[in-house]
């Protein structure tokens, strides 16, 4: 996610770092470029305006102009401003009330509410909770069926009493949860337009009846400028407590995310990164700011690795990264490990500096199979010292793996690229300060 935004920023920063001295004029020019990047990434017009004004004000300070690395100063200002927009620190769901605790899920049509309910149900159960799902979308054809099927897949109970009034369904779900000692009730409401008065009133009735401590507003990650208006209207009516962004597995630049957060002031709690119930991630704004600015997100990467790989393997990986001791066997092993962690390009996007290089190195499942076949057709020596793989060896490997010589070449190039990158990263770590304009975020 945010790949394109990252890329735009990477180019922009490279240019900015090139500047020996900054003048107010070239800061202005740079900011015009930042403005364009943000608008093309669907950040809301008004949010962009404020953002640029703020950066401009801070950048105009004497300190920046006189500092030895004015370009980096501006980058730092932009980073801080971005962090401010995205909010600081990770904020957990508030489940502290007397159980059963109702959580209401609201949003526009097709934004991903029902899917999120399933994801959240799974997530909470993994955290030791006992969720009940409540099917309160009585409008969309087969919406109740949808939730029931998801519940069945995940082995989570679904409250669908067959009555017409969503308020009754929700309060019924609470009684049911008490009766069956479920401690969280996830309320799936119908999608609606923020300008649909009767439908908005329905949500207010549900809220007034159940008084949920958490109301999550689900927003489509591909949304454009109007995302802010819809979100503001839901906020005004319901005072929702958190935001979930969905469909971030796409290639949308995700600027609406920033805008909604900035305008409503509510934290983004989760992001949806796929259609399956386990494609849910907690949202860490500070890390995301760095990710957007192309500095990678080692913290998320390490955590992901801890979730799906055992500690030792993760550490071995980190050591290899640092020392760039990395042969084709490791390459294959890493690809396999990474695959277990989740969508590959996303994982790779978390490695600092990798964002850009990974472009055009898309790793999908078919590539994976091909890569495996190619590496398996090499001799152990070849895998250990890929430098020895000459033309005739390449032809033999291609033949053996049922691929083309180009494929073998491509793989070797990719490997070489990654190794070089790792070398560079290893060096960076060694030097104090390194090439990073400021320290990597910690959480």
């Amino acid at each position: 996610m945010f790949d394109q935004l990252t890329q735009s920023f990477e180019t922009f920063f490279r240019n900015l770092r090139g500047h020996g001295k900054l003048t107010e004029d070239n800061i202005k020019d740079s900011l015009r470029e930042v403005r364009r990047i943000l608008l093309e990434s669907d950040v809301n017009f008004k949010v962009v305006k404020d953002f640029i004004n703020n950066v401009q004000e801070k950048a105009a300070g004497q300190e920046v102009l006189r500092s030895i690395t004015p370009g980096q100063q501006v980058i730092k200002i932009i980073h801080d401003e971005l962090v401010r927009l995205l909010g600081e620190g990770f904020s957990r769901l508030d489940l502290s009330g007397m159980p059963p605790v109702p959580i209401m899920v609201v949003g526009l049509q097709g934004s991903g509410k029902t899917t999120l309910i399933a994801k959240l149900g799974l997530h909470l159960r993994r955290k030791g909770k006992f969720p009940l799902l409540a099917a309160a979308d009585v409008y969309r054809p087969a919406a109740i069926d949808q939730l029931q099927q998801l519940g069945r897949q995940l082995d989570l109970p679904v409250w669908a009493p067959g009555v017409k009034d969503p308020v009754d369904i929700c309060s019924g779900a609470m009684s049911e949860a008490r009766r069956t000692t479920r401690d969280v009730v996830l309320l799936d409401t119908a999608g609606r337009l923020h300008i649909d008065e009767p439908m908005m009133q329905e949500l207010e009735r549900i809220r007034d009846t159940l008084k949920p401590p958490e109301i999550l507003y689900i927003a489509d990650g591909m949304a454009g400028q109007d995302a802010v208006r819809a979100a503001s209207e839901f906020l005004e009516r319901l005072d929702f407590t958190g935001i979930v962004l969905t469909k971030l597995d796409g290639d949308a630049k995700g600027g609406a995310a920033l805008s909604i957060r900035a305008v409503t002031g509510k934290p983004i709690r989760f992001i949806g990164t796929g259609e399956k119930p386990d494609a849910l991630e907690e949202f860490h704004p500070d890390r995301m700011a760095s990710r957007i600015l192309g500095m990678g997100d080692i913290v998320s990467l390490v955590e992901k690795a801890q979730e799906s790989v055992d500690q030792e393997t993760a550490e071995k990986f980190a050591r290899k990264v640092a020392r760039a001791e990395f042969d084709l066997d490791d390459f294959l092993e890493q690809l396999r490990q990474l695959k277990k962690m989740g969508p590959l390009d996303e994982i790779l996007g978390m490695i600092p500096g990798l964002g850009k290089q990974m472009k055009g190195m898309q790793v999908d499942e078919r590539d994976m199979k091909r890569t495996e076949a190619i590496i398996c057709s090499m001799t152990p020596q070849e895998r250990h010292k890929p430098g020895m793989i000459n033309g005739s060896r390449r032809r033999r490997i291609a033949m053996g793996s049922g691929t083309r010589v180009q494929d073998v070449n491509q793989l070797l190039n990719q490997y070489e690229q990654i190794r070089n990158m790792m070398k560079r990263m290893g060096k960076m770590k060694g030097r104090t300060g390194g090439q990073f304009p400021f320290p990597m975020p910690k959480s």
Partner: protein
């Protein structure tokens, strides 16, 4: 008066909170100056027209103003009308000819990203073609999303049309193939195929779509006769990339812009029309089968500058 303008002008009392309509803001502006230009820019960007297309539109407008000065007593109004005309010109080439659905049975394949409004649009299109006296059959080739076929079957029941479906997880191409054979055997006029929502950057899912097309061609090499990409008016600049990739993989022949009954203006579609010249056929204006209208470039251009009011 079209359904679109009805929606824009009608519906209930004004709610100030939703913001002043751009039209009103502009009309307060007496001169052509930088402020007016930046307001026009803001209006276009806020409608999701995008930076590049906005620049192109404003450049074209400036050019026009050189030859076509506006009346001095209502400058802003004049400029706005001229801008609407410019937008109209940019999207009109994408109107295209009539639909290529004369084959019997003809196949209309519906594609798009997750949640854009495909299945609901199928209900609307079904009604539309029924009203033209056509016998419609539906294929539930979304075998992935939970209860997707139940959703289509419910629409089928309400509209009185048959739906061909299989078990969840079945091969979508097989569903489409069976449905096409059934349509042929039972002398239907039109088969509409619903597909699962998919993000255009997922290669494997896009290949699955491609396969549906290939399999249909086994029965009739000219099928699918039309491929409609359903776009969500709420979508920002990603809409252009969606259209590009779906066009490339599944040969999109027409666009449907759904959810225009909200406050999002769907301006990204201008860039889609401009860049890909795929005809925009229909717009979606609600969740009921009758909430469909033929696309009208003039009304669309006008609608960009005015958001609908509260639904009462």
């Amino acid at each position: 008066m079209g359904l679109f303008s009805k929606l824009i002008n009608g519906l209930g009392k004004t709610r100030q909170r939703l913001g002043d309509s751009i039209r009103r803001v502009l009309s307060l502006h007496p001169r052509i100056d930088d402020t007016l230009w930046s307001q026009l820019e803001e209006a276009l960007i806020s409608a999701d027209a995008g930076v590049a297309t906005t620049a192109a539109l404003l450049a074209a407008l400036k050019e026009k103003l050189k030859h076509q000065p506006v009346e001095s007593d209502n400058v802003a109004e004049g400029v706005r009308l001229l801008l609407e005309e410019t937008i109209e010109e940019m999207i009109t080439p994408a109107i295209g000819n009539g639909l290529n659905l004369s084959a019997t049975p003809a196949v209309l394949l519906i594609v798009g990203v997750n949640g854009s409004g495909k299945t609901t649009s199928i209900a609307k299109l079904t009604r539309h073609f029924q009203q033209q006296g056509r016998k419609v059959l539906l294929a539930a080739a979304d075998t992935f999303r939970a209860a997707a076929s139940e959703q289509l079957i419910t629409w089928g029941d309400r509209l009185g049309v048959q739906v061909i479906s299989q078990k969840p997880g079945a091969d979508p191409a097989a569903v489409a193939f069976d449905a096409f054979q059934a349509a042929k055997a039972r002398a239907y006029d039109l088969l509409i195929v619903d597909t699962a929502g998919r993000l255009h950057n997922k290669d494997n899912l896009m290949q699955e779509l491609n396969k549906i097309g290939r399999v249909l061609k086994k029965i009739d090499s000219s099928a699918p006769h039309e491929v409609f990409l359903v776009l969500d008016a709420n979508t920002g600049q990603n809409m252009i990339q969606q259209a590009r990739v779906f066009q490339e993989i599944s040969g999109v022949t027409g666009l449907v812009l759904a959810k225009l009954d909200g406050t999002a203006r769907g301006g990204a579609v201008i860039s889609v029309c401009r860049e890909l010249s795929i005809p925009l056929r229909f717009i979606g204006l609600g969740e009921k089968p009758e909430d469909l209208a033929a696309f009208d470039p003039r009304e669309f251009a006008r609608g960009l500058f005015e958001a609908p009011e509260e639904k009462a």
